[in-house]
Assembly symmetry: C5
Amino acid sequence: MRIADVIGKVTLSKCHPELTGATWLVATSLSLEGIRGDKAGRGEPFVVFDERGAAEGSRIAISEGAEAAAPFHPGDKPIDAYNTAILDTINI
Amino acid sequence: MRIADVIGKVTLSKCHPELTGATWLVATSLSLEGIRGDKAGRGEPFVVFDERGAAEGSRIAISEGAEAAAPFHPGDKPIDAYNTAILDTINI
Amino acid sequence: MRIADVIGKVTLSKCHPELTGATWLVATSLSLEGIRGDKAGRGEPFVVFDERGAAEGSRIAISEGAEAAAPFHPGDKPIDAYNTAILDTINI
Amino acid sequence: MRIADVIGKVTLSKCHPELTGATWLVATSLSLEGIRGDKAGRGEPFVVFDERGAAEGSRIAISEGAEAAAPFHPGDKPIDAYNTAILDTINI
Amino acid sequence: MRIADVIGKVTLSKCHPELTGATWLVATSLSLEGIRGDKAGRGEPFVVFDERGAAEGSRIAISEGAEAAAPFHPGDKPIDAYNTAILDTINI
């Protein structure tokens, strides 16, 4: 799972019908420097489906690819990034 | 989901038979600078399958990998990029 | 789907038994510059499974990951890049 | 499978209910230089699900994507990085 | 499929029980320069599951992601890189 910081939210105009009403975060993945607090260590922002109640500033672990939709099987949700966990502490 | 801007369309000459008649967009993924309007923040263009009616200039969220084909299961469509949502506003 | 140009073919010596006799292309993915004809805009070459009859010089859309094998389900073909369509024109 | 070194652990505050109690490592993937001991040859850190008992300093092989969750099928665990093996020696 | 050269082997100390006894290669993916013999055209090394009898120096095509485990379905092997074919000649 990539480690990422939540930096915002998205409002949708049109989406796949099964996804109406969900929370979509904007997050940015972190390098080692990013984890240690260096803003330069932040990657491209991307959209993450959230069920954990993460907010701006939360540090999260993100599952990507087919497994991002695993919590919704069987189903046809076209999701490829899912907030698996809000991280409390990272010991490195 | 990657955040991308629609920059064009593709006309096919030969394709997998189940995909005849579909709309195929050309989109380019966006970095944080790209979201803020800097053209340098645009990545490689790629082809996206569209059912939302996106047009050139639309900002969209793209599912990739196996989940891109989730809306069509069970089926054998070889699609790996799907327009999941047209984005209205991004608050970052 | 990544946009790519076919640049060659591969001859196999030993392969998974279900793949004997197939056509394997060598393709290179294209950046925006590559689509516009700049050779510097070409990425790493990779091997693509072909059923469309693409030839050297064809511009194609490539599905990757699990969906590359979707046309063969149910089956056990270890394919992760499939020529989904030969592109006629790209309007960008 | 990517080759990676374990560099730490993660404590979760909120996670998907099926993942409570699991061990989550922080690992960093290695380039050829990284395998040979050069710290500059280390990539971005990411979170890995562990069942092998790896500890800080272990060198491991990591499966990613849908197959990372294969040991748990059928199930709905949103995991995309799994410690497949602790490596003893690498002969290159 | 990525094109790669086999550069070594791995000895495991602990692995997922279904993978005991398998051959695990270390391979490095090739850019166009790498295919033409330039050592600078080699990417990060990674671990590949082998059933073709590849040896150091073999040039191979590698399936990645979920399809890498396709030859073993139904099963729970956490494999994400599989030697699909040993390449004889590459005409580019």
